[in-house]
Symmetry: C2
Subunit: 122 residues, 2 copies
């Protein structure tokens, strides 16, 4: 008996990019970083999860924090929670709005996507 | 009198990416190439317009043509129109569906975008 691997299904993904002039303020990568920070509670853990260096993650957090009215990410400096990194309420709001944009976009493109998909080579 | 330059307005852009496994079948760059081909009627002209090499444009066209049920782009090989490059009806349909997805996405994300925008640093 032979096993044939079926070709993988085509997918569509809206990658929402918020920018000002040449600077990208928020996009899929930064949103994933916010989510990983929320999940792991540590910047090191979030960086590892996304396969990026600690320094890269740290720089992205600085950019995120500068881009909004209040910081999105906060790191505890002392005490029992030293080094613990969490989203601020502003960070939670921004991440939620970003995911809402992704979901709204995906729902809105579905009719045209179904037609486009039918034109793809099988 | 001093002139102050106002900071540029933040913008949002949904970059719609159609892929299968690791291969990107259609995205903003390939859509722009299709549009430039339609506009200029020459692959060379389209490549120049987008600041890409002729070889790069040619490779992208090959990928596009392989990715769909019928070619999206056709080049005339002889006669008076030799070298003229145009979109096929399939190419026109695919480009139109892609632009529809972009417009639908942009309209759908507008409510969340307005809220997110109000959280950006000014």
């Amino acid at each position: 008996m032979t096993r044939r691997s079926r070709p993988p299904e085509p997918t569509v993904r809206p990658r929402i990019r918020v920018s000002r002039a040449e600077e990208i303020l928020l996009g899929p990568g930064k949103a994933d970083l916010l989510e990983a920070i929320r999940r792991s509670g540590r910047l090191r853990g979030a960086a590892d999860e996304l396969g990026m260096s600690y320094m890269r993650a740290w720089k992205l957090v600085q950019m995120l924090n500068r881009g909004f009215r209040e910081p999105l990410v906060r790191t505890e400096r002392g005490g029992a929670g030293h080094g613990k990194t969490t989203l601020t309420p502003m960070g939670e709001s921004v991440l939620a709005l970003y995911r809402t944009m992704e979901r709204s976009s995906l729902a809105a493109i579905d009719p045209a996507w179904k037609r486009l998909k039918s034109l793809l080579a099988s």
